[in-house]
């Protein structure tokens, strides 16, 4: 009677969350790297780089993720011929990772940029005074301090990324939202317990993660 007494259904549930986990990890790495590079571009002395960073943020931050994931399939894969794997699921997974990364990177970039704003001007001035270049100032002085200031916002962004990874289901990956939909379709009478199982898993993992980031942010906060 109970949905989750059937091992096949448990398998659907586990597979769904494994995809979410993998998407979240790879997406976080991608978004972080890309976001830092974009933030560096946005504060760099070269106007073209600044424009590029600004354009990226304005385009990807303002487009629904559903559409970005769609373009990853029908633009990047279908039209531009980018293919990560011949296996449908693996390929869709990587397309999803790319979509999540480029989307989330726009938010990471803005968070880091506002973090840079919290670093007192004296820090950069002192760095320049001892002859550091822009690149040195940024990587050795500004970003380490800014990074500590933006742990809390970055935490929220990556938690959002974990939740957003359900949207990769729109190109067919059997992640948790598709898994939940399938289970509900097959067991309409147990919709509540199915929802609680899926939503509860997200809540149990993500709420403590949020508090963890908050704790980390307070611990690492730059005392001024």
């Amino acid at each position: 009677m109970d949905v989750f007494s059937d091992p096949a259904n448990v398998d659907v549930y586990v597979t769904g969350f494994l995809w979410i986990l993998k998407l979240t990890i790879a997406g976080t790495v991608g978004a972080l790297v890309l976001g830092v590079v974009l933030a560096a571009m946005r504060v760099s002395p070269v106007p073209v780089l600044r424009w590029f960073g600004a354009a990226w943020v304005n385009i990807f931050r303002n487009t629904p993720l559903t559409l970005i994931i769609f373009f990853c399939y029908f633009g990047l894969f279908s039209t531009l011929g980018f293919s990560a794997s011949d296996d449908i699921d693996r390929n869709n997974y990587w397309l999803g990772v790319i979509g999540l990364s480029v989307y989330t990177a726009a938010f990471v970039c803005e968070a880091i940029r506002s973090g840079i704003n919290t670093v007192p001007a004296g820090q950069a001035e002192a760095a320049r005074a001892i002859g550091m270049s822009f690149f040195q100032t940024l990587t050795m002085i500004i970003l380490p301090q800014a990074g500590r200031a933006v742990i809390a916002p970055l935490g929220s962004i990556f938690i959002a990324l974990a939740k957003n990874s359900t949207i990769v289901g729109t190109i067919g990956l059997a992640e948790s939202s598709n898994a939940m939909k399938d289970l509900i379709n097959a067991n309409g009478d147990q919709v509540i317990s199915i929802f609680l199982a899926f939503a509860g898993t997200f809540a149990i993992v993500l709420i403590p993660t949020g508090y963890g980031f908050g704790w980390l942010a307070r611990r690492l906060a730059v005392k001024r």
Binding site: V43, P45, V46, V48, L49, F52, N58, R61, N62, T63, P64, L65, T66, L67, F71, F74, S78, T79, L80, Y103, E110, A111, R113, S114, I116, N117, T118, P120, A121, Q123, A124, E125, R128, F134, T137, L138, A152, P153, S156, I157, A160, K163, N164, T166, I167, S176, S177, M180, I184, G188, V191, I192, F195, F198, A199, F202, A203, L206, I207, G210
Partner: protein, 289 residues
């Protein structure tokens, strides 16, 4: 804009030359990439006039895109108002002195912040009718889902804003005899709302984008009408998606621009400390998506 940028020295002749080279190299790379994308799309016939022609016809707009856009904006507007109300109520709830208000409010906010909106909408639309034995309208499924999620995020933003108001403000208010409710309503919330304006607006942008999830439960919004239905008629799903993306970008850019204007208008002068970024007016406290 770079006059107050402090991250780098004013470029001398060598730095200027280097920047120029960087500009040219990077510009060429970007343009080459764009050109490559263009030719690839061309190879696949994506620029074919027949696929774009529907968008030059008024009927495509009046039959599909504009009604879809109207539904998107309706859901977004109603959800925005309800989210703000939800956010204020629950932020006040979480700040209450009474545990039996604080704890439930906290549980609600934390739960809805942690659950993906897609799951939430699925549940409201397919699950709630089993509980109430009443059909659930698609519109309200979308709006309630958006409200619970974005309202919870806003509740946290308001709470952070209230906590960030200097203690002296509430102390002074109590000193002149205000009650707790008055202090909250007249002193703390208005200041918190102003400080949190960037967060509120970026959350509203999120809200507009998230209406796009409504198509998954067949709400007739921009993606359903302007992409799926247009594509079913004309077989141009990529083109329709490009048009829809541009519409979203325009709406959200307008919203952001409006927020910038509003924040400049309402900002108290003389409080912004000089900082390293230069171009950004106030440090956005926490941007969530």
């Amino acid at each position: 804009m770079s006059t107050d940028a402090v991250l780098y020295d004013h470029p001398g002749p060598r730095a200027r030359a280097r920047n120029r080279i960087l500009t040219v190299v990077f510009g060429v790379v970007v343009l080459a990439l764009l050109y490559w994308v263009y030719t690839k799309f061309d190879d696949k016939g994506q620029w074919a006039a027949a696929l774009w022609k529907p968008f030059t016809q008024g009927s495509t707009w009046t039959d599909y895109i504009l009604p879809g856009l109207r539904h998107t904006l309706e859901a977004a507007a109603v959800a925005a108002v309800l989210s703000l109300a939800f956010g204020i109520v629950f932020s006040v709830g979480r700040l209450s002195d009474h545990w039996w208000v604080r704890v439930p409010a906290g549980v609600v906010v934390e739960f809805f912040r942690a659950v993906p909106l897609l799951l939430l909408m699925f549940f409201i639309f397919f699950g709630v009718p089993f509980l109430t034995q009443q059909p659930m309208s698609i519109f309200w499924s979308v709006v309630i889902g958006l409200t619970l999620y974005n309202g919870s995020v806003l509740a946290e933003a308001f709470r952070a804003g209230v906590l960030a108001v200097p203690n002296g403000q509430s102390e002074a208010a109590y000193a002149v005899g205000m009650r707790k409710g008055q202090v909250m309503a007249n002193i703390l919330i208005p200041q918190a709302a102003r400080a949190m304006l960037p967060v509120i607006v970026s959350q509203l942008v999120v809200l507009v984008k998230d209406t796009a999830l409504g198509y998954i439960i067949s709400y007739n919004e921009l993606l359903q009408m302007g992409v799926n239905n247009v594509a079913a008629n004309f077989g141009n799903v990529v083109q329709a998606a490009i048009v829809a993306a541009i519409i979203y970008i325009i709406i959200n850019s307008l919203l952001t621009a409006f927020a910038g204007w509003l924040s400049r208008r309402t900002r108290r002068s003389g409080r912004a400390p000089r900082s390293t970024g230069g171009s950004m007016p106030t440090p956005a406290p926490a941007e969530v998506l």
